[in-house]
């Protein structure tokens, strides 16, 4: 699916967000990315969903070097990659139905897109996607009237409508309460599994990553520190990953002391699909 060769990203202001990352992700794989904040995970995801262009190195998506893509090719490729952001990145003033149907924008013509704003095109599809994330009754609500957790589910519904080959989820649960977080991660995992989508997820919480993903990539200071199965991720590795980052070290201590168990509480919330 993805092949990264020596990817580096330097922003215009000189900050080096991604130092040097090489990685291969196969089709249908589920990979969790963990690491301290500021390690470059979000930038990496913005490179993977073709929002940013790498400063150096090659990003190959399905055998195609993306730097060679034309504007149209870039758009076509983007339709195959769905992104869920940490902040929901929805348009607050639009109704939920439009934010969900925005998943179709890569396939719709300009005229269809415009017409759908007046008379929504695939209301049934939007309704089904919302039902899957447990909030079918919010179809016609104004998006900015929803709570943070509900908005995050709208963002997931948009990706469901987009029906991409890869789902990139950048800290999708850091802004929602813990029990909902588990439901969302489970939902994304099961859904990608059923429809054989590739799933890449940035996670702040180590236990969610270790409990739900067969492959864990540790990112530190813009480099891959480790890339192993979850059972190989031990306390020493994590300590090295988070060295010098107070908050995350605290999280580790709780893990070690057994206050939080690996893969805790996988019960989905009511309204969520089993």
């Amino acid at each position: 699916m993805y092949e990264l060769r020596g990817i580096r990203k330097v922003f215009a202001d000189g900050t080096v967000a991604v130092e040097d990352i090489s990685l291969i992700v196969g089709s249908g794989e589920h990979v969790a990315f963990i690491g301290p904040s500021g390690a470059g995970k979000t930038t990496l995801f913005r490179l993977l969903n073709l929002t940013l262009r790498p400063t150096a190195g090659a990003l190959i998506f399905e055998g195609q070097d993306v730097s060679a893509l034309s504007d149209a090719g870039l758009r076509r490729t983007r339709t195959r990659i769905g992104t869920i952001y940490q902040q929901q990145n929805l348009v607050g003033r639009l109704r939920v139905v439009h934010n969900v149907l925005a998943g179709y924008l890569g396939r719709w013509s300009a005229a269809t897109a415009l017409a759908s704003l007046v008379r929504p095109r695939d209301v049934a599809g939007a309704g089904r996607a919302l039902a899957q994330v447990g909030i079918p009754e919010k179809l016609w609500a104004r998006t900015d009237e929803l709570s943070g957790g509900q908005q995050q589910r709208v963002a997931i519904a948009r990706v469901l409508v987009q029906d991409p080959d890869v789902i990139l989820a950048d800290e999708p649960v850091s802004a929602v309460d813990p029990s909902l977080a588990v439901s969302i991660v489970t939902l994304l995992r099961d859904l990608s599994h059923e429809s054989r989508k590739t799933l890449l997820m940035n996670l702040h919480s180590v236990d969610l990553a270790l409990g739900h993903f067969p492959r864990i990539v540790g990112v530190r200071e813009g480099r891959v520190l480790f890339d192993v199965a979850p059972d190989k991720v031990g306390p020493e590795l994590l300590a090295e990953l988070y060295a010098g980052h107070r908050d995350e070290e605290l999280q580790l201590e709780q893990l070690r002391d057994g206050k939080v168990s690996f893969g805790a509480a996988c019960r989905p919330l009511p309204g969520f699909r089993k």
Binding site: N89, V91, L94, H98, A102, R107, L114, L117, A155
Partner: protein
Amino acid sequence: MARGAVARPGRAAPLLVGVGFAALLAWSWHGTAVDLPGLFGGEGLRQVATYVVKLFPPDLSAGAWRDAATGAVETFAISLIGSLLAVCVGLPLSLLATRTLLYRGILFEARRPGPGARAVRVALYAAGKAVLNLLRTIPEIVWALIFVFMVGLGPFPGVLALGFHTGGVLGKLFGEVLEDVDPAPLEALQATGASRFAILVYGVLPQALPQFVSYALYRWEVNIRAAAMMGFVGAGGLGQRIHIAISLFQEHQLMTLILAIYAIVTLVDALSAFLRARLV
């Protein structure tokens, strides 16, 4: 600095600004021949008072009343259509005057336009800005003179004048709003593979719309006042009638017309406030 004492912020800058303003004021006082003592001392005040007394009572005969009402309606029409025309002129130009839609920002990170394409886009932006500046710089009254010269007397040149001048103002304001929208939703839309046009109508415009409406209503309030003025150069409305009344020393009718202006301006202010509360 003494131990324990906190540095006292410098007082030179405010003082300098204050002195500067005082000097500016004195210079302007002198230059504009302001004569407040003259105005308030005896002679001047009596002159004003005589004039004000002459205005009363307003002429409320059927003819004067009908004349004022017709003028008010015409002025209202000029301001409304002029403001609509301004939106039609300003909106497309504002899209050109928005850098984040043409060549920079999140929509152009993945694939920058080549040097040639970029030059064209920068030129488009510069041209859009230049046209808006031109429209905005020429006061509406000068536009009115130009259009009267072109298409003859009547309210239509007034409409065109308001449309062109206000179009320039709104285009600039709209462009600033467009550059200020939150880029995060745009990034998300782009990541779904949406075209620039789709991003514009799904991400940019919904965010900008309330501000657009608010600015358009604000300019309508300005335009109802300006529309009345158009008449001075022969572009219809209350202004024309006021001009005549003043020139012919018909003070009582002038008072009626002033009351009409007051009424129509207050009405539009109230309407605009109501719509702003309702739509934004």
